[in-house]
Every structure is written in C-alpha cells, then in structure tokens.
C-alpha cells in the first residue's frame, strides 16, 4: 500500500480475522458437538470445547447407522453422494466438451440454433420446473436409479460456454497442421485439444463436483428408498425429526462428514476452484 499506516493495517488484519472467526464458528461448534456424549447436548449451554467421544461417535454413525434415517449406515449415503457427484461432474464435462467441440470446429446447418438451445437451459433451473421434470423422469422409468439422479442434470450451459471460450483461443494453426498431416477431427480432439484443455477441465471438475455433491431438491424428488439416500438428504431428515429433539451429536457428526469432501476439494484445489468459479460466470 501507499502509506505505511500501522493502525490501518491492524484494523485490516483484525477485520479479516473477525470475519474468518465468524465464518468458522458454526463449523467449530458442529465439530465440538460431534465429540460429546448425547447427554451433553440435551439442554443449553452446549459445550464449546471438544469432548472425548470423537472415535466412538464417528465409528457409530459410519458403521452402525442412525436410527432416525432407517438405521442405514452413513457410509452408504457417503458412497451414494460420491457416485452422484463424480458422475455429474464427469457427465457434464464430457457432454460439454463434445458439444463445444462441435460448435467451434464444425460448420453445419442450425449451428447457432444448437448454441442458443443450450443457452436456454440457464433460464430453466430445476426449481422452476420441478413437477413436469419429475413426470418426464417417472415416465422414463428412472425414479430411484443413479441414471435418474444424474442424467437429467448433466446438460450444462456454463461448462459449454467456458470450453467454447477456451477453444476459440486455441491457435487455428494447430487444427490446420493436424488436417494437413491427415488427422481426422476425433484424432485432433483427442491428441491435441484435450491435452490443451487440462487446466480448464480441472477447474470445471472442482465446480461441478461441488454442485453435484450439494444437490438436494432433485434427489429428494426422485429417490424414495433408503438405499438411494445421499448424505445431504440424510442430514435434513435427521435434523428435522417430528415431535422430538434431534440426536445432536449424531447429526453434527454426519454434518461434519457431509461437508468435509467438498471443503477439502476446494481448499486443496484452490487455484482451479478460483479459476473455475470466475470463468464459468463470464
């Protein structure tokens, strides 16, 4: 900065640290609650320092299961969430790579119509067309299946735009050289374009994995069996049990487990996350 004003620097540090503490406090409380025996959480005030039941509580929810959600072990829900998140992320990236490649590198009738059709999906989030989309999915016999969880949401306008934007910056000479050397379009795509897109694909993967892991309304509508419950849905069912207090130490242990994978991915892949976030919104 321009002037060296100690006071202002201290105010800056202090503000940011207060912000960090405010954001982290709910997570801290959740973690603390997950390490205490149930009796400690029956009435206020709840403890604000960790207890000694970390291993017992996490072992219990992961292996033995939680009564309020049909006794299913949380590890099943974690596996469901993982399958769904990875499938959505990979599906969105593959579908978008192919269509962006077609739109940028081919000339064909109705090319721009295709482009605008994809664009239209931005204006139709699941929340505004839930009932008819549910009916279509039910008519296709996709309720209670991984296909039904994943397929209807793997169209992605944002990913297609990001990749289109990137493909347009790839030098024309590369495609020309490939053509002169007799490489077909798919060979060019596989051997040249895909390796060049690595960073963008990583960025998209982080964003789409979080999107997939955090899906709530869609899985809620199309799954009914306990075997298909994702962890995000499971938490809601545990935290809002009718006519009784939730079993808080279990709820909070599951909460920590549910937010760990996406948070770890964002922190560990921060560079790609920031890139993906800023570029998908352009």
């Amino acid at each position: 900065m321009i002037e060296r004003t100690r006071v202002l620097d201290w105010i800056a540090h202090l503000t940011v640290l207060v912000g960090i503490a405010l954001l982290a406090f709910p997570l801290w409380l959740a973690f603390v609650a997950s390490t205490h025996p149930p009796e400690a959480l029956f009435k206020a005030p709840v403890p604000i320092w960790p207890g000694d039941r970390f291993f017992e509580n996490y072992h219990a929810v992961l292996v033995r299961g939680v009564d309020s959600v049909g006794g299913a072990p949380i590890s099943v829900m974690l596996a469901n969430s993982l399958i769904m998140a990875v499938a959505i992320a990979v599906g969105k990236i593959v579908v978008s790579l192919l269509s962006a490649f077609a739109i940028v590198y081919f000339r064909f009738p109705f090319r721009m119509l295709c482009f605008w059709t994809i664009f239209l999906t931005l204006m139709l989030p699941v929340e505004v067309r839930i009932l008819p989309t549910y009916q279509v999915t039910a008519d296709l016999g996709l309720l209670n299946s991984y296909t039904g969880l994943v397929l209807p949401i793997i169209a992605s306008a944002t990913a297609t735009f990001l990749l289109r934007q990137f493909f347009l910056t790839v030098p024309d000479e590369l495609a020309e050289a490939a053509r002169i050397d007799g490489a077909g379009p798919m060979k060019f795509f596989w051997d040249i374009l895909l390796p060049l897109s690595r960073v963008n694909i990583a960025a998209l993967f982080v964003i789409m994995f979080i999107f997939g892991w955090n899906q709530y309304l869609w899985p809620l509508l199309i799954t009914t069996g306990d075997q298909m419950t994702t962890i995000v849905m499971g938490i809601k069912r545990m935290a809002t049990v009718a006519d009784s207090q939730p079993v808080w130490h279990e709820v909070m242990a599951v909460t920590c487990l549910a937010l760990l994978p996406p948070v770890v991915i964002v922190v560990a892949m921060q560079r790609w996350f920031v890139k993906g976030l800023i570029e998908t919104e352009k």
Partner: protein, 294 residues
C-alpha cells in the same frame, strides 16, 4: 469470433452435439413447455380431463393474498441476503487487499463455506439458534430476549437470512478481491500523491472501478437468493411459522408436491421462469458490455 480451420463432417458434428441437445430437450425444454401448457388449463377434481382456461390460473394467483405475501417475503429475504453478502464480501475483500502479503492465506480461510451444501448450512445455523440447545439462543436468553424461531416469524426470517448469507459471502469476497487486485496501482498512487486519503481514494477511484463487478454480483446473488436457497428454507423452517418464510420457490414445491394443485403450481413455475429469464438477460447484457470495454 469464428475459426478459420474447421472440419467438414456434418454427421459427426450432429453426433457430437446430440447428447447435450437430447438432455436439454427431454429434461429442460419439454418440461418447461409442459409447465406452460398446464398453466393455462384446469383439471377436473379427478384428474381425468382438463380444459383451457386462459389466464385464469394466473388471475387466481394474483387474487390470492397469500401469493402476494409470498412475493413480498421473497423480496425482503433476497434484499437482506444480497445486502449482507455484498456488504460483507466487499468489506473483507477491501481489508484483505490492503494486507496483500497475507491475502492468499486469508482467502483460503474465507472461501471454504462456499463448498458447504445449503442444507448443511441450514442445519449448522439451526443448531446454533435452536430454542432448546442453541448457544446463541441461550446467550440471547441471558440478555432477556426470548428466541424461538418456530413461533416468531421475524426471528425465523432472520435465521434463514443469516444461514443463506453465511454460505454466499465467500463468493462475493472472491470476485471483489479479484476486481480490487486488477485496479492499476498507478491510479491509486496518483490520487495518494494528490493528497487523497484511503477513504477518499476508495470512494472516488476504487469504487467506480469495481462498480461493474458489484452489479454482476448483485444479479448473481439475487438469483442465488431467489432459487438456490430452497434447501435452507426446507431444512430450517419449512416455510413457517405461518408462512413467514415461504419464498416463491418453496411455494411452487409445496403447491405442486404437497397440495397437488397442478394448475397453480404450473402458473407459478411460469412466473419464476420469467423472473430468472429477465435476470439472465440482464446478466448477459452486462457481460457483453464488459467484454467490449476491455
């Protein structure tokens, strides 16, 4: 911008766009047109026949005081969330930008809530403000405030606003920080040489330069609070007490899936589609403008 070097293979091109277009048609455009169709029809009580009723479903909605109240609830909720998200995001970004040497470390500690699912954010806040065990509810009790969001509509609103904003501050922080760091240092230095202090520099130079980012964040945060906050409402209040937190998106779900009023739910879907389309158009017009300036 177009490519000079392209491939000539129409069949392959159509095969490549086919997956995306197929999903778009089957799961986006077809359901949306179904919603449009249903919104101008009324089913008989047994669901056997339906007849064309024009805009009757819409008229019925706008005659319904509880729907207008839901509109108002949505506006209050969105305004509060947006103000908190933009205000706090800008504050933290401006401060982190000042101590740039530590900005990356601080950034990590500020952005992680963005990865937390809305439902999980809702449950975290529910735990802190639960009337029986919540630590803040207990603290409020200590200073003579009775906290029970299950009975008090205003308290319920405050709780969902806090949970929704908590998750999203990270997003506006990131964009504001990127915008602040892209401001040429020479501009700020020139103003400093002319004797402008930090506050004056922020008001006359920095803020106008980040105005486009602010506008963009305004639109994105509005979309977030209109549509993506459904899980937070569902986890914390289920729209209650007495519909005090029933935002439009929650109501579509309730009327469609719980009350099974198809015509009304479809009409509400159409209204929401119009809102999100308008916001998307605003957002993209602005992006075009930004690209041209660069």
């Amino acid at each position: 911008m177009e490519k000079r070097a392209t491939f000539d293979n129409r069949v392959l091109a159509y095969l490549l766009v086919a997956p995306q277009l197929l999903i778009t048609f089957v799961f986006f455009i077809w359901p949306a047109s179904q919603a449009l169709w249903t919104s101008v029809r009324r089913e008989d009580p047994f669901g056997l026949r339906s007849e064309f009723v024009g805009f009757a479903n819409f008229a019925r909605l706008f005659d319904d005081p509880s729907y207008l109240a839901s509109f108002q609830t949505t506006l209050i909720f969105s305004a509060a969330v947006t103000a908190l998200v933009l205000g706090l995001g800008l504050l933290f970004a401006a401060m982190a930008d000042r101590i740039i040497r530590y900005a990356t470390g601080y950034r990590t500690l500020l952005i992680w809530p963005y990865a937390v699912a809305p439902v999980v954010a809702g449950v975290l806040w529910l735990f802190m403000l639960n009337p029986t065990v919540g630590i803040f509810a207990y603290a409020l009790q200590g200073i003579g405030v009775t906290w029970n969001h299950q009975l008090d509509g205003n308290q319920a609103m405050l709780l969902v606003v806090l949970a929704a904003a908590w998750k999203q501050v990270a997003y506006s922080f990131l964009f504001f920080l990127a915008a602040l760091q892209s401001i040429p240092k020479s501009l700020v230095e020139a103003a400093a040489i002319d004797g402008a202090g930090p506050v004056k520099r922020f008001g006359t130079i920095v803020f106008p330069l980040i105005a486009p980012t602010s506008f963009f964040l305004l639109v994105v945060t509005l979309v977030y609070s209109f549509f993506d906050t459904f899980p937070i409402i569902d986890a914390i209040t289920s729209g209650g007490p007495a519909r005090a937190t029933e935002i439009l998106v929650y109501r579509v779900y309730r009327d469609g899936f719980v009350a099974l009023d198809l015509g009304s739910s479809a009409a509400q879907s159409v209204i929401l589609m119009l809102i999100v389309s308008a916001l998307t158009v605003v957002q993209f017009r602005y992006v075009e403008a930004r690209v041209q300036y660069q």
